[in-house]
Subunit: 180 residues, 2 copies
């Protein structure tokens, strides 16, 4: 009677754990993609006729739009990478490159998105009670919604960054993603 060898058993458990971990990352990526895409679209459509204010007139709103679009594209690409890893059981790039790439970009884009949202918030604060909101209230409301969605995108990106940071540490300790 042969029982399966312990290393193989160990490895199966690790693979299951890793798959669960990767699925969690994928969910966070999906959320940050949805929120930042929605924020970018809300901001992009935020112009109401040629005599009304447009997001293009304000640096801070252009920054919000750009940062959200960048994060949406990045999250979409990272979703593809995650799905590849879940399906194939292997990272797209070599493992060392992949874990550091993910963590580094998560950190930088989280700082970028947060500063964009903070800048946008400070700008729309100055609109309150001013001419712009009285004349075209939709412009202000749409800006608020876009910035709110962007903050939600930032939170999910922050969670992804925590998980990919954890992955870097696990990788440094064990030399592999497999032993979580």
């Amino acid at each position: 009677m042969r029982s399966p060898p312990p290393p193989h058993f160990q490895s199966t458990v690790s693979v299951q754990k890793l798959r669960r971990f990767n699925t969690l990352i994928l969910v966070f990526r999906l959320c940050s993609f949805c929120f930042s895409l929605a924020a970018a679209i809300f901001m992009f459509t935020n112009s109401h006729g040629s005599h009304s204010p447009s997001w293009r007139d304000f640096e801070a709103l252009r920054f919000v739009m750009a940062a959200n679009a960048i994060v949406a594209v990045y999250s979409f690409a990272e979703m593809g990478v995650s799905i590849w890893e879940i399906l194939k059981g292997n990272t797209l790039f070599p493992e060392t490159v992949q874990v550091w790439f993910d963590f580094g970009h998560d950190q930088v884009f989280a700082y970028l998105l947060l500063s964009a949202e903070a800048a946008g918030t400070a700008l729309v604060w100055t609109f309150r009670g001013g001419e712009i909101c009285t004349a075209v209230n939709t412009f202000c409301v749409q800006s608020y919604i876009s910035i709110g969605l962007g903050f939600a995108g930032f939170f999910f990106l922050g969670f992804s960054s925590l998980l990919s940071g954890f992955r870097v540490v696990a990788f440094i300790i064990n030399g592999s993603r497999f032993h979580l």
Copy 2:
């Protein structure tokens, strides 16, 4: 003829390395303290008579002032902790608490300071060419300087955060700060 035992020799090298590492952290802390304190003072004194604009009238500038003050206090405390560690060769709190405390607070305060500076920048952008800068130009210039100093403080805080993150990883791997 007796030669010093290898473990002791190893430990001496590690202690020297650790001391150099701690000195580097101390320098970064000192820089972030100086810059954020200067930024807070520049903002705090940025009010020119009762009929002129004051930093208290703008949420974003109050946020810049508060964030810089918090970071200055935190950096000052962390300088004390670093000096203690360099002199006594031991962390002030238990080692696990200390490394996670440093890293966690560095991260949170870096995000806080960056968002404050971004908000401040977005606000002072709206001043350009407006009444406020024409009437009291000093107010605008002083705001610019304060925000610039705050960004410098953020960079040094970010460097400290990298080093304390490295310390956390070293601590997790070796169970001690000593083997860098």
